[in-house]
């Protein structure tokens, strides 16, 4: 399938050597949306969680300290920018690197908290992110071997063969694991049980947008 069929006419390209970022209405819409969200998140404050303590009338306030707040806001902004970049990139390997960046930043956003449960799920998610190195980079390499190119423009015009489909499937598993969809949601869901909601929100948003973009890539190259 050609790129034009899915996202509308190409409005322009940003050529950076072999890596061409291309802009069509769909990608531009996703790009602008995620950047708006990032801007909102960067200016918003965090909430304070109040937990009732067990066995007494006191309550336990879980607030976000200033140092922690700065660290997490920085990582959240990077996460937003990385997601925005993944929306408009036109290169398969570049996309996987954006994916890896989003994965590591997601871990970082929750790593600064003090709850053991949250740290545990961040660790388990990190293990998945490490394993995802194989399906993401390996899948891109298999597609490269099958077609001799990594550019989405070229891949769109090459008819699919079984090896390409296999590479794309491997990549799909990688993206599913790294963004924590369907069977792998538990590792990420546990991470949300921590104060600092706007930063948690960007974890959610980034995986949502990445899935949309990857489905579009799959439809393009197959």
């Amino acid at each position: 399938m050609l790129i034009e069929d899915l996202g509308g006419n190409i409005l322009g390209t940003i050529p950076l050597g072999d890596i061409v970022l291309y802009l069509n209405p769909l990608h531009l819409f996703l790009f602008v949306t995620i950047l708006l969200f990032t801007a909102l998140i960067s200016i918003s404050r965090t909430e304070t969680q109040v937990e009732a303590m067990f066995g007494s009338l006191d309550e336990n306030k879980v607030a976000v300290g200033l140092k922690e707040f700065k660290q997490r806001r920085f990582l959240a902004i990077i996460c937003g920018i990385a997601t925005a970049g993944a929306m408009i990139t036109g290169d398969l390997f570049n996309f996987t690197l954006f994916m890896a960046l989003i994965g590591i930043v997601n871990i970082g956003i929750v790593s600064a908290v003090k709850q053991v449960d949250v740290l545990n799920s961040a660790y388990q998610y990190g293990l998945i992110a490490m394993m995802c190195g194989l399906p993401l980079f390996g899948g891109a390499a298999i597609i490269l071997a099958a077609t001799g190119t990594l550019s989405l423009f070229e891949l769109a015009s090459i008819p699919a063969n079984p090896m390409m489909i296999f590479g794309a499937l491997v990549m799909l598993v990688g993206v599913a694991g790294e963004s924590g969809i369907a069977p792998f949601f538990a590792s990420k869901a546990e991470m949300f049980r921590t104060p600092g909601s706007p930063f948690i929100l960007i974890i959610h948003l980034s995986s949502l947008f990445i899935i949309v973009r990857f489905v579009e890539i799959l439809l393009t190259i197959l």
């Binding site: 950076l16 970082g108 090896m163 598993v173």
Partner: protein, 198 residues
């Protein structure tokens, strides 16, 4: 039906997720064995056959891609040659030290190529430079996370951190333990009282 419920419960535990992921990925990789695989010979950035340059006795052996320093560009087959105006110039460039080294011995091709200039630099910095930006940002983010955790939690920085806070936390935790001990004492006493009453 109860089996499915059990399965869902298992999926809700984060500890099982990496293992589930590993199983799924492993099974998918095994599927790869029934799919016909083969290398498409029409690739970009082709390199010569292994050891052929070494056997030919070229001075910068595995990475000689032609060209003369600041005179003529080397051979680089990029995906979009029209996007890179100076394609091949970095490929053929060598620093003066590297040229000296090249004259000295024919066996230092790798270090000559790794010093500024050479084919890999052309790919990493110029034609696919954006990859390198991302990749070094990944390293930077990972390091920011690790060093933040290390400085704040895992390395001993007691003399520099405000000790008061530490003491406060310790008091709170010991308070909690004392409460728990008291609680269990109370329960034990109640049990005792019940027994005696009976």
């Amino acid at each position: 039906m109860p089996k499915i419920a059990k399965l869902w419960n298992k999926l809700a535990n984060p500890k099982n997720i990496p293992r589930l992921f590993a199983v799924i990925l492993g099974l998918l990789l095994i599927v790869g064995f029934i799919i016909p695989m083969g290398l498409n010979t029409d690739q970009i950035y082709i390199r010569p056959a292994p050891q052929s340059q070494m056997d030919a006795g070229l001075a910068i052996a595995p990475y000689d891609r032609g060209g003369e320093v600041l005179v003529s560009p080397g051979v680089t087959e990029a995906q979009y040659p029209e996007n890179s105006k100076n394609l091949g110039w970095i490929n053929s460039y060598m620093t003066p030290i590297a040229e000296l080294l090249k004259a000295l011995s024919p066996y230092f091709g790798t270090s000559i190529c790794a010093s500024p200039g050479g084919l890999i630099d052309e790919i990493l910095y110029y034609t696919r430079g954006f990859d390198t930006i991302l990749e070094s940002s990944i390293l930077m983010m990972a390091f920011i996370i690790a060093s933040w955790l290390a400085i704040n939690f895992t390395i001993d920085r007691k003399e520099e951190r405000d000790i008061k806070e530490d003491v406060k936390r310790a008091i709170a935790s010991s308070d909690r333990i004392a409460n728990e001990v008291e609680e269990s004492n109370r329960k034990a006493r109640e049990k005792q009282a019940k027994k005696e009453f009976r």
